[in-house]
Amino acid sequence: MDFLFITQQSLSAAIGVNTIIFALAAIGLNMHFGYTGLLNFGQAGFLAVGAYSVAVSVVSFNVSLWVALLIGIVNSIILALLLGIPTLRLRADYLAIVTIAAGEIIRQVARSATFNKTLGGSDGITGKFGKEFFDLNPFTAGLDLPFLRFTPNDLWVVVVGWALVAVILFLMWLLVNSPWGRLLKAIREDEDAVRSLGKNVYLYKIQSLIAGGVIGSIGGFVYALSRQSVQPDNYGTALTFFAYTVLILGGAARVLAPIAGAVIFWFLLVFVEQMLRQAVSAGYIPEWLIGVNQVGQIRFMLVGLGLMMLMIFRPQGIFGDRKELALDARA
């Protein structure tokens, strides 16, 4: 067993591109679920809109990347309005069903052969649409330390990505500690009480949906740019559920929780995978029990089990405060 390699892979994943993507998705969900109590199960749809806006604008319509990013943000606001107007009057569990449906609609339309020409069908879009971003890359060499390893491009994405996360978290911190943020928390705790104070709950819920959705779509930008490709099946319900796992692991309704959750989630995911993989190939685990190709499935079984256990035994996550989050309230 090559423990150095395992550590290198796990640590690189823990602060790597995927961690940034899931952290951004979870920060958005934190706004929705953690602070406002909205069960948005269509977060993958927001990431998809962000990613596809960039890829389609640049590849199919030859728009500059920076304009494409703006288009992505506008599109995610439109999606939030489309989703929010019909559904935010419904109870939490209905909202969950409708948003998960909306996320699937986006994915299935994106992968359909009907819109093959613009959206790329089930293969998605691959191209150099991140060229303008990578042209700015100051790193000529990658990072190759015993414990960390990034290619020059990944290093650039990671540095910019974490800077972005820091800015967004700072804004989030300002927002949730403002009167506006306190109102969201009040909606989460008791909608009727807020309404009795003459506040338009519906309007605030839509604002929350937009804010979290835009943050999610920024995660989509990172997803698309880091790979220079978008593939529809990456934006399925699994993405949303893993983002929830990340959020709940860290602790919902805590500003820094999505970061902690994403770092731990990806560290464990890659660590378990690499350990199992090496244990299988070194013969510590017999082939009839776990094949090399089955390691990935064990990993995701552990994610599912972990989510259940967290929710049952520690719903406030690692850093959350049980009193802060009234998850047990009849929504």
């Binding site: 995927n18 069960l39 019909p86 559904t87 935010l88 009057r89 419904l90 109870r91 939490a92 569990d93 209905y94 909202l95 969950a96 069903i97 409708v98 998960i100 449906a101 699937e104 609609i105 299935q108 339309v109 359909s112 052969a113 009907t114 093959n116 069908g121 293969d123 909608e191 790979r227 490709s229 593939q231 099946d233 990456n234 399925g236 319900t237 699994a238 993405l239 559920f241 929830y244 709940i248 089955q294 990935g296 499935q297 064990i298 995701f300 079984m301 994610v303 599912g304 089990l305 972990g306 989510l307 259940m308 256990m309 929710m311 049952i312 998850l327 047990d328 309230a329 009849r330 929504a331």
Partner: protein, 418 residues
């Protein structure tokens, strides 16, 4: 939905696949043309175009095989000359006349499948409507069987169960293992699989997971997220033991359809649908007539009051779970017998089940049935107007539109609006 797991897995870690194979390796895009009875089709021209003005052609040989050598790793457009297909045969999905072949790396051949069957597009719209209506009613039955259990569990315990789809997969997989591995006849394997599903997915699941959670006072949203975790755990466990492919039962796999007027239905479909319909009717009667059924509605209405008037709430909930698992597993078996079983079968149907339940009204029995009928039939009939691949999108759009005008669903009560 089926490939989420794999693509997520592969794309996250292996987004850059090594292109180390030597350029001299001949690489082919290839395939075998067969009709719906697996008989080879010869003499059909397949052509491929790609970057750098590449174009190549191949004519299928006596065994239906064709292959085109390609010069570089790229995405190629592979098309079939439909006019050369024998009469009575056509592409079952007209959108597949041109297929993208992604040659990832030289040395790795890519196999392309053109789905060919009895020409559907030659049927008139009226005949197609009749066939689609029949298909839609069968789909509605599958959805209704699953939706009834989901709705009952929701009604009595408030749980929105995202792991309900896995009950369908459980029924299907048990039938597969009992028939293909243990070697039982399919008609024996099915009742056994239903009984086992009721035991594992109904009795044991409630006894060892949900009842303890209710005792702990776990909240509804927390329980909902637990069910998501459970669904992920079980789905990947199924993938772990069963693999990612769709498999057919050893018997009745390639059954020919019976022509009933304009509609063609296989005997196995008629038999499974009849049993399914009977189960649905019995379950509905049981719920409306029997003591236990009435008790379940009392629990749904007001658990505390039901309990104080002598109803054993926990026993009622257990019965509801067992009934739900029984019906859902048979829904899964209907799909398995007619289309084969895969580990994502339940997940694929879950959204439609939710759509049906939401449409009809969460927690109402008749609502679940009406919602299923609307969703099942509209999914199939919508293919008259929209491409087949977008039929689920159509159903989900209908769901959202109906919620706009009638947020409580067709038969639901106002109470659900937040």
């Amino acid at each position: 939905m089926s490939s989420i797991a794999f693509t997520l897995l592969t794309s996250l870690f292996f987004s850059a696949i090594a292109t180390s194979a030597s350029a001299a390796t001949p690489t082919y895009i290839q395939g075998t043309l067969v009709d719906s009875t697996k008989a080879p089709i010869a003499g059909v021209t397949i052509s491929a175009t790609g970057p750098n003005n590449f174009s190549g052609e191949s004519i299928s040989d006596a065994s239906g095989k064709w292959k085109i050598e390609v010069p570089a790793a790229a995405v190629y457009q592979v098309s079939i000359n439909q006019e050369q297909l024998p009469s009575g045969q056509a592409l079952t999905d007209p959108a597949k006349a041109i297929i993208k072949a992604n040659v990832i790396s030289l040395g790795f051949d890519v196999t392309i499948l053109f789905p060919i069957g009895p020409g559907v597009e030659k049927a008139t719209d009226l005949e197609r409507s009749a066939q689609l209506l029949a298909d839609g009613l069968i789909l509605a039955l599958v959805i209704a069987l699953a939706a009834l259990g989901l709705n009952l569990v929701f009604g009595t315990t408030g749980l929105t169960n995202f792991a309900h789809g896995e009950l369908l997969t459980l029924g299907g997989l048990l039938t597969y293992y009992l028939s293909a591995v243990v070697g039982l006849k399919v008609f024996l394997a099915i009742p056994l699989a239903v009984a086992l599903s009721a035991l594992i997915g109904g009795y044991l699941q409630d006894k060892f997971l949900w009842q303890p959670l209710r005792r702990r006072g776990t909240g509804l949203i927390a329980a909902l997220i637990v069910s998501i975790g459970l669904a992920i755990l079980i789905r990947y466990f199924f993938l772990f033991i069963f693999g990612g492919d769709t498999r057919q039962l050893p018997e009745y796999a390639g059954q020919a359809g019976l022509a009933l007027g304009p509609v063609s239905i296989t005997p196995k479909s008629i038999i499974t649908s009849s049993i399914g319909l009977a189960m649905l009717v019995i379950a509905t009667l049981w719920l409306s007539r029997s003591h236990m059924g009435k008790a379940s509605r009392a629990v749904a209405d007001n658990p505390a009051l039901a309990s104080s008037s002598g109803i054993e709430v926990e026993r009622v909930i257990r019965a509801v779970w067992i009934l739900g698992a029984t019906l859902a597993s048979f829904a899964g078996i209907m799909v398995t017998v007619n289309q084969g079983v895969s580990f994502v079968m339940g997940q694929d149907l879950l959204l439609l089940i939710f759509a049906a339940v939401t449409l009809g009204g969460l927690g109402t029995i008749n609502g679940a049935l009406i919602g299923s009928l609307v969703i099942g039939v509209s999914i199939q009939l919508s293919t008259l107007f929209i491409p087949t691949e977008l039929k689920y999108v159509g159903a989900l759009v209908i769901l959202i539109l109906i919620l706009l005008v009638r947020p409580q669903g067709i038969l639901g009560k106002k109470g659900r609006i937040g």
